[in-house]
Amino acid sequence: MRIGLFVPCYVDAFEPEVGIATLELLERFGLDVDYPYDQTCCGQPMTNTGCHTEAAATEALFVKNFSKFDYVVAPSGSCVHQVREHLTAIPQTEEVVGVRQKTFELVEFLHDVLKIEDLPWAEFPHRVAYHSNCNALRGIHHARPSEIARPFFSKPLNLLKKVRGVEVVDLTRPDECCGFGGTFSVFEPAVSAKMGYDKVADHARAGAQYVVSSDSSCMMHQKGCAERLGVPLKFIHIAQVLNGAAA
């Protein structure tokens, strides 16, 4: 099974250790993981702003980089949602459709494809608030959102349960958006920041030491908000926790 590792631009530039943890974690399961060297971005900043034409060349590059793999795995629900649902600015050839179908977010890849049973190397003895990225939650169905009257399930929490010592705290508004919203964060900065403040306040009130998420983008925004407010929260990607980060 050949895996193409997609490291989103945020992760590449700001959170390289998330990319490293993803790579190492996949390798722990004996997978052949390759990182196509010419990769850049999934095209989301442009398509979310309505600028599909402007995203076309970036989308084409993504497909070119990843078409040769059995699976494409990325540590971001948001970027995977873009690829799966919105990579439509270029002609939908067999190759394009194929890449879109075989692109998985790390949590769902571990949970649904590899169906991993245990993580003997992972221990994280801390109180943790899990932050659901909205695209991961409602776009690629990581968990049952609080609005839906169906039985509860959560793939990321199922994985975190396999990590020794993790204590997950309950939030007042468990899946309220944190206000990042991609370009929303710079075009509507006041509302975006207020949502972020409320989010980190909810984490802190719940007694969390760490915020864990499958998306670095939400956490980059929340971290900026927490630092501005002086809320002593630490942020760590789920890939790092599952890979055995000692924190």
Binding site: C9, Y10, V11, D12, A13, F14, P16, V18, G19, I20, L23, Y35, Y37, T40, G43, P45, N48, T49, G50, C51, H52, E54, A55, A56, A57, T58, L61, H86, C134, N135, R138, E147, I148, A149, T172, C177, G179, G181, G182, T183, F184, V186, F187, E188, P189, A190, V191, S192, A193, K194, M195, G196, D198, R205, M220, K223, G224, C225, E227, R228
Partner: protein
């Protein structure tokens, strides 16, 4: 349905309440049994403390003709009024939680949503037939039926009916359709006095402000604001913000106007094709006053309000109040079928852009909306911005996808006032894919150059860099300047809005790319070399 001034319920989230807002129980708000009063609609908290700072109510978006609404600017002013913002957010979140409890309490909830959605799909797909059936049944019942192409025609028709009867005063219950038509402003210009009978809507009318929410139109106001409005318009005590005092003052002031009105008007929640019946759902019974007291009654009906049969009503009544307020049903569900003896009854069926919307492949399902407001209550942006920040008849998520159908330029910015988190879609009782339509509108607006040139230019520049690996690497390779430490899209934003309220992320010593090259590519090539040897 309207905002409740008297309602109170204890909250488990006392830790979230602003100290001024939480302080002290309001003894005036206990029922006869001594318990706290509970009400179905948006519980408000007493501000009470004499030391509480009286914060002026933030006003809505600035309207400048057809120029694009600056929702972000109005939202920023709303956020700068923390008492208002906090009360607004908590009240509406409370409704969302009540909605969850009510919805999750019905095992077949998700099936009900699906059923309601399918009934609407069917009805909208056969709308011409059902409208004709409705008209025929109404005529048999003795109702006069009128058709209005747009808001202006609606207003002219109603004015004509009033003129024919020499009517100078009209009481009406809340109707978003008449807001669309600019009905109150039109009638004011023609010397007809309009009296809103819904309490929240009456507050908004007296304050000469549009409703900020489809169900709770004055939810953005605190009791201080209401006390101020009533003092200004009815001469009440401006220092007294007791809910009973305010509600009773309004009642004493308005009741005689209701009893003496020449004509009455309601909107319509559901129009039943097979019976020709108009159904309204309220918690105050005010639609009944409007429909039953004056000798002339007029019902304004958006053509998308049709449902085929009475049996379908059961599905919608079960989901409407639960979605809106978390209550099983509204206090009053009124069926208007034919004129009372000695009175006259009119229907005005209004298109006002609906036929055109029905032809929009990506957006026609927005016509399924039953105006429950659940998408607003759950929307984190709406709760922190206030409904008036949208500068449009319809605010919140449903507004973002309906408003541009009325005016693409004026409302071109609205679909961007969203994080597209998708919660709106999940609470929608008729399963409108609201957040996907917001996404689709952004594409339409960009293609038609209805987004700012600056924004489109930034995206073009971003696309150029992100599609060229070498350019991308050059841009993020050296992370030592402050500019380069920004997220990619922000780099192209000449106004650095990220850092205003948030700390910048620190750029690490090495990108993942560089790490990979150093730690893995070297190893891989040496492994390959070893294998070759």
């Amino acid at each position: 349905m309207s905002e409740d001034l008297a309602g109170h319920e204890g909250s488990s989230e006392s830790g979230m309440i602003h100290p001024e807002v939480a302080k002290g129980a309001d003894e005036g708000e206990r029922g006869q049994d001594g318990g706290r009063l509970k009400h179905a609609e948006a519980a408000s908290r007493p501000i009470g403390s004499p030391k509480a700072v009286r914060e002026p109510q933030p006003r809505g978006a600035k309207i400048r003709g057809d120029r694009p609404i600056d929702q972000a600017e109005a939202a920023e002013r709303f956020l700068a009024a923390p008492l208002h913002q906090k009360a607004h957010d908590e009240r509406l979140w409370d409704l969302r939680k009540k909605r969850d409890t009510a919805a999750h309490g019905i095992p077949e909830w998700e099936e009900l949503r699906e059923l309601a959605s399918q009934i609407k799909t069917h009805t909208l797909s056969n709308l011409d037939r059902y409208l004709e059936q409705f008209e025929a049944a109404a005529k048999v019942n003795g109702v006069h039926v009128h058709w209005a192409r747009d808001g202006a025609e609606h207003n002219r028709i109603v004015h004509g009916i009033l003129r024919d009867h020499g009517a100078k005063t009209l009481i009406k219950s809340k109707s978003m359709l008449t807001e669309e038509c600019g009905f109150r402003h039109y009638m004011a210009a023609h010397d007809i006095e309009i009296i809103e009978t819904d309490l929240g809507e009456r507050i908004q009318q007296l304050d000469d402000e549009e409703p900020s929410h489809v169900v709770v139109p004055a939810v953005h106001k605190t009791r201080f604001d209401v006390a101020e409005v009533f003092a200004r318009t009815m001469g009440t005590d401006p220092e007294n913000d007791d809910a009973h005092y305010l509600a009773e003052s309004q009642r004493m002031h308005t009741r005689p106007l209701i009893l003496q009105a020449d004509a009455g008007m309601t909107g319509c929640n559901f129009a039943v094709a097979e019976t020709g019946t108009v159904v309204t759902c309220t918690n105050e019974g005010n639609a009944d006053l409007s429909g039953n007291v004056p000798p002339l009654q007029i019902h304004s009906i958006g053509i998308e309000k049709l449902i085929p049969r009475v049996e379908h009503l059961g599905v919608f009544l079960r989901i409407l109040a639960r979605s809106a307020l978390g209550s099983p049903i509204t206090q009053y569900t009124s069926h208007f079928r034919g004129p009372r003896p000695g009175s006259e009854m009119h229907y005005v069926l209004v298109d006002n852009g609906r036929s055109e919307r029905l032809g929009m492949e990506e957006f026609w399902t927005s016509l399924k909306c039953i105006r429950c407001g659940a998408c607003m209550n759950t929307c984190p942006v709406y709760r922190r911005s206030g409904g008036l920040s949208y500068g449009a008849t319809y605010s919140g998520p449903i507004g973002l996808i309906i408003d541009p159908t009325y005016n693409k330029r004026k409302y071109s910015t609205l679909p961007f006032s969203s994080t597209m988190n998708g919660s709106c879609t999940n609470v929608c009782p008729v399963k409108i894919n609201i957040h996907e339509q917001i996404f689709a509108w952004r594409k339409v607006l960009a293609e038609e150059h209805q987004i700012p040139l600056l924004k489109q230019g930034m995206m073009k520049a971003a696309g150029a860099v992100l599609s060229r690996p070498a350019a991308y690497r050059a841009a993020i390779g050296t992370a030592d300047s402050a500019l380069k430490a920004l997220p990619r899209f922000a780099v192209y934003n000449p106004l650095n809005t990220w850092g205003k309220a948030r700390e910048m992320p620190e750029a690490p010593r090495q990108s993942f790319h560089a790490w990979y090259k150093q730690n893995r590519m070297a190893r891989k090539s040496s492994t390959k070399k070893d294998a070759a040897e």
